[in-house]
């Protein structure tokens, strides 16, 4: 199997897993490109653990991307406050109500994912990214029979974090 075969087979899943954490497809595709670049540097395409590594790396890189974005958002807000409200470009971006709502959901999801233990965040991203319980068990390294319990715990913890972050 060539690297291209692995890419074509797994790219959609890797994007899908990352999207559950970063909240939008464009950023998830950026994360996926980085993940495949790292994969190409490190592994043979026929490595037995290729799929598992790609999914885990997608979740981990997506969490890092959310951390980076939070830092950069804070910096931009600070700069925006310094410049005052006359920055037309910034206003254009902030203007449409839908953009604000979408951004808000993305921010909430990202913040909640960061507050979860990494393993639970990963299980959620894998489940809603379309992996079967068997695949989740293989990727995270837990018995398949326990995956359901993990998913319920992760869903509960996620909801709690969303409520906490949302009311903050």
């Amino acid at each position: 199997m060539t690297f291209e075969d692995v890419f074509l087979r797994e790219y959609g899943r890797v994007v899908s897993v990352a999207r559950r954490i970063v909240g939008d497809v464009a950023t998830a595709e950026d994360v996926a490109q980085e993940v495949f670049e790292a994969f190409a540097r490190r592994f043979d395409p026929n490595a037995a653990h290729a799929s598992g590594w790609l999914y885990l790396a997608a979740a981990r890189n997506a969490l890092n991307e959310v951390r980076r974005r939070r830092r950069s958002d804070l910096r931009e807000r600070h700069e925006f406050a310094l410049r005052g409200a006359s920055d037309a470009a910034h206003q254009r971006e902030m203007d449409p109500q839908r953009t604000i709502e979408r951004e808000e959901v993305r921010r909430l999801v990202g913040a909640a994912m960061l507050r979860l233990p990494e393993r639970l965040a990963t299980v959620l991203a894998l489940k809603y990214g379309g992996l079967s319980y068997r695949e989740i068990a293989f990727t995270v390294g837990i018995p398949e029979a326990h995956v359901g319990t993990y998913v319920v715990r992760a869903q509960r913890a996620f909801r709690k974090e969303i409520e906490d972050v949302g009311s903050y």
Binding site: F7, R19, Q33, V152, Q155
Partner: protein, 320 residues
């Protein structure tokens, strides 16, 4: 399933569910394009520094400076640039050993980059006056931002024991490290640096990008150990072809010439004049980007972006 569990699952489905339509073939084409885009950082700076140092060190053995032995020498400070063709034929990056296979990277020293909104603020922090372009191509966003970094420093210490251990572990041959090279430390430092960017948000860009870099010229220092062997050691690494090695050996004044990697199959490199100083312009035949760098009065300048070479040179010549 309890109501609460159902509620949890429903909320997750609402916020995390849904499908995305992904074109993996198109994504693969983008992936390949990314890998051939002009990236000055494709070869890590330490590699460039180490290769430059390797060449310079040859000079040291043949001059009285070599007798300074273990003292910390400034062995490299760029005033000119030499294009080094690193096409696939010349550099098989996948074969290059990682630096940690034959030595230890020191903890990088770096000041925290400061984001500022004006050239005046950037100049105050950096301690030199930031030049700003009078001309910016119309397709580039009008607002820019400045990032100032006071110092970035990387160091590397060669270790024969590590080289032997990693060669045994990976079952591949690395050149035998000469005894006197063992323990030599090479340090590359740069800064203060002011970077002004247009169209860049974090690691991403939404459209045309322009970047202007100005910095106190970088310096590479060495503890000056077993000099001539350093060059032959680095240039004999797997992945570096005889052509690439001879290009580096052919640099006229290696103590002040920065080797700039480019891919001749996809890019062009030519000498240009910028504001009275001679510089090097690297363009991309595919139209993906172009850049120019030059040195003047102890400062290193670079302008690059997703623009044509003429546009990049126009920006460079308008810096005031």
């Amino acid at each position: 399933m309890s109501d609460r569990t159902e509620d949890d699952a429903a909320l997750c489905e609402r916020l995390l569910g849904g499908e995305e339509h992904i074109d993996a073939r198109q994504a693969f084409a983008r992936f390949q394009a990314r890998r051939v885009e002009p990236r000055f950082a494709k070869i890590p700076f330490v590699w460039v520094g180490a290769l430059a140092a390797a060449v310079v060190i040859v000079l040291l053995v043949t001059t009285p400076l070599g007798s300074l032995g273990q003292s910390f020498l400034t062995i490299f400070q760029p005033k000119a640039f030499a294009p080094i063709n690193v096409s696939a034929l010349h550099l098989r990056a996948r074969l290059l050993p990682n630096l940690d296979e034959f030595g230890t990277l020191g903890r990088p020293r770096s000041s925290k980059p400061k984001d500022v909104v004006s050239a005046a603020a950037a100049s105050r922090i950096a301690g030199f006056r930031a030049l700003v372009p009078a001309v910016v191509p119309s397709q580039v966003p009008t607002t820019s931002r400045f990032v100032v970094n006071l110092l970035a420093e990387e160091s590397f210490r060669f270790s024969a024991a590590k080289a032997r251990a990693s060669a045994a572990r990976k079952k591949r041959a690395l050149p035998e490290m000469p005894a006197r090279l063992d323990g030599t430390m090479v340090t590359a430092s740069i800064g203060p640096t002011i970077v002004q960017t247009w169209g860049v948000r974090g690691k991403r860009s939404d459209g045309p990008v322009l970047v202007v870099v100005q910095s106190v010229a970088p310096v590479v220092r060495s503890t000056g150990a077993t000099l001539g062997e350093l060059e032959s050691y680095l240039l004999s690494m797997p992945g570096i072809s005889a052509e690439l090695a001879s290009q580096i050996r052919a640099i006229g004044d290696p103590s002040s010439t920065l080797p700039v990697p480019f891919e001749a199959t996809k890019q062009t490199a030519q000498s240009v004049n910028v504001d009275g100083a001679s510089g090097l312009a690297i363009g991309d035949n595919t139209g993906l980007g172009a850049g120019v760098m030059w040195e003047k009065d102890g400062k290193l300048y670079a302008v690059f972006g997703t623009l044509t070479q003429d546009e990049v040179l126009g920006v460079a010549n308008s810096l005031r």
